[in-house]
């Protein structure tokens, strides 16, 4: 499977994707709803994306944006898989059973963002002590221990 077949396949499957979807330079992005995340991931895995590079989240104000970075070794190309997660009671499906690499990365996202992952074997804090309150990487995280660097550039 080379890159063009991949493109046609994806364009066929996700119609709104087609106009400006480029994969060569490694910044191709596939945006899906939260519900369809697991199926899209499984589909991509079957297409040849056998390595899950990165799992992270970005606090976009009124919702979180989950960003997955998938790499295919035989096509030697990388791709983004993104989905939006609502801010109140954020939860999404864990990709552990597709790629075990997601085990610790999802724990880290849970620890720093507070996004629950259903189906994750042991979802607990990984970076912060057990008794930590709050999720620091959220933009609205209040903590009296943080001393803000003055806005002086």
């Amino acid at each position: 499977m080379n890159i063009d077949e991949l493109r046609d396949h994806l364009c066929g499957q996700y119609p709104d994707l087609c106009p400006l979807f480029s994969i060569e330079f490694g910044d191709g992005t596939l945006q899906v709803e939260c519900r369809g995340l697991y199926d899209a991931a499984a589909d991509l895995k079957s297409l040849g994306f056998d390595m899950l590079g990165m799992v992270t989240a970005v606090d976009r104000g009124e919702h979180f944006e989950m960003v997955y970075r998938l790499t295919s070794r035989e096509m030697s190309v990388g791709m983004f898989l993104k989905c939006l997660v609502p801010r109140d009671k954020p939860h999404t499906r864990s990709l552990y059973d597709l790629w075990p690499a997601a085990l610790w990365q999802e724990r880290e996202v849970y620890d720093l963002f507070g996004i629950e992952f259903d189906g994750h074997p042991d979802l607990r804090r990984i970076m912060l002590p057990e008794d930590w309150v709050g999720h620091p990487l959220r933009k609205d995280y209040q903590d009296e221990r943080i001393i803000k660097r003055p806005d002086y550039i």
Partner: protein
């Protein structure tokens, strides 16, 4: 997990009879955890039945800090991420910023970056081979490999003025040009380094006791390595033929010819030996790079003081000594990044410890940790 843990636990053994397990806490400060990792190990006699890796003891919240610093001020922070290899940590971040702000780096800067990153890879491998050997009590090999690392540190000190936190690779090029006669001393180093590598090879990897300790320990299959997201020598030790410099080539690497050493049976011995063989390759890359290096500016002309890239996101990764070190930056047009995520190879490799440590003895646990070569600045960020 608080520090206090109970010493013994009652569990049923595989045949259902109650069995008493010894719970040992290889604590955050331990000579062979390569930093501040902690493993709570359940021992049946000396055989490990369950290992739970606890990290986060060096979690300084660097990603939160990056959100309140300008793009140039984040570079010193990346030094403190993978402090055994800060040169290529800088480079990974700078590549992501350059991709985001569409900065074209001059030829000479790309060559200098390759030379410096390869030297840093050798220094990092020397550290990891040495400390893994020190875990099996071969302290002399640690001292010889650290001496090699010291030669590189002296070269870096002459190049950019710092021993460990260089802040040398900047978005748009490198901070200063190479000093006079620096490349000759680097060439001398690579010649002497090959001899030292051969010496270390014969002294440690040839040794029967060392082979007894390393072979067959923590065997990682090929598809397990890929599924668990392992990268770098850990994955290549198990036969996964994936090196970003070769297979997802970036910068000026396509112009050099070097081969990528691959292990066969994916045990601690193969991983350590792959690191050593990679040092040979790095030496030849450095020599080729110095040969082909053009003259010209070492950083892009007309660089604004405050880099303000367009809103959007960019991801770029390089082949660090531990694997594929990726940086994902989201920008919102202000001089400060909106979100920075460091994809740390050591973090993903370390996730293998609970899987690999089971079934081995306690003295093998340190070999497992040593072969995965974690640097906790990068693991905990």
């Amino acid at each position: 997990m608080s520090l206090q843990i109970e010493e013994q636990r009652q569990t049923e053994g595989p045949d259902g009879r109650p069995r008493q397990e010894l719970v040992v806490n290889v604590g955050p400060s331990h000579p062979s955890t390569h930093g501040v990792g902690r493993v709570v190990v359940h021992l049946d006699g000396e055989v490990i039945t369950k290992a739970d890796m606890i990290i986060g003891y060096l979690h300084r919240g660097i990603e939160k800090m990056c959100e309140n610093r300008t793009y140039l001020q984040v570079v010193p922070l990346t030094d403190r991420l993978d402090y055994v290899g800060s040169m290529y940590s800088n480079w990974a971040y700078c590549r992501a910023v350059e991709r985001l702000a569409a900065i074209r780096v001059p030829e000479r800067a790309e060559y200098i970056r390759v030379i410096v990153a390869e030297m840093q890879r050798i220094a990092s491998h020397m550290m990891s081979i040495g400390s893994a050997a020190a875990d099996t009590a071969a302290a002399t090999l640690f001292i010889y490999s650290f001496d090699e690392r010291e030669r590189i540190i002296e070269l870096f000190e002459e190049l950019c003025g710092a021993r460990l936190t260089y802040n040398y690779v900047r978005p748009g090029g490198v901070a200063f040009d190479l000093p006079e006669g620096w490349t000759d001393s680097v060439l001398e180093f690579t010649k002497a380094h090959r001899k030292a590598l051969d010496l270390m090879d014969r002294m440690y990897f040839g040794n029967v006791i060392a082979r007894g300790r390393l072979k067959g320990v923590a065997v990682l299959g090929r598809d397990d390595a890929v599924a668990w997201g392992a990268s770098g020598p850990v994955a290549r030790g198990s036969g996964v033929d994936w090196d970003l410099r070769k297979h997802d080539s970036y910068s000026v690497y396509p112009r050099f010819d070097f081969n990528v050493p691959i292990g066969e049976n994916g045990d601690a011995y193969d991983r350590a030996r792959t690191r050593l063989l990679e040092c040979y390759e790095s030496c030849s890359i450095i020599e080729q790079a110095i040969e082909q290096m053009p003259t010209g500016p070492h950083k892009v002309e007309g660089q604004p003081r405050l880099i303000m890239p367009r809103a959007g996101d960019a991801y770029d990764h390089i082949e660090s000594a531990r694997g594929s070190l990726g940086v994902y930056i989201v920008a919102d047009g202000s001089p400060r990044p909106y979100r920075v995520k460091f994809r740390s190879p050591a973090f993903c490799n370390l996730a293998l410890v609970p899987k690999l440590a089971v079934g081995h003895t306690l003295s093998d646990l340190v070999v497992v940790l040593g072969s995965l070569d974690p640097v906790f600045g990068e693991v905990d960020r």
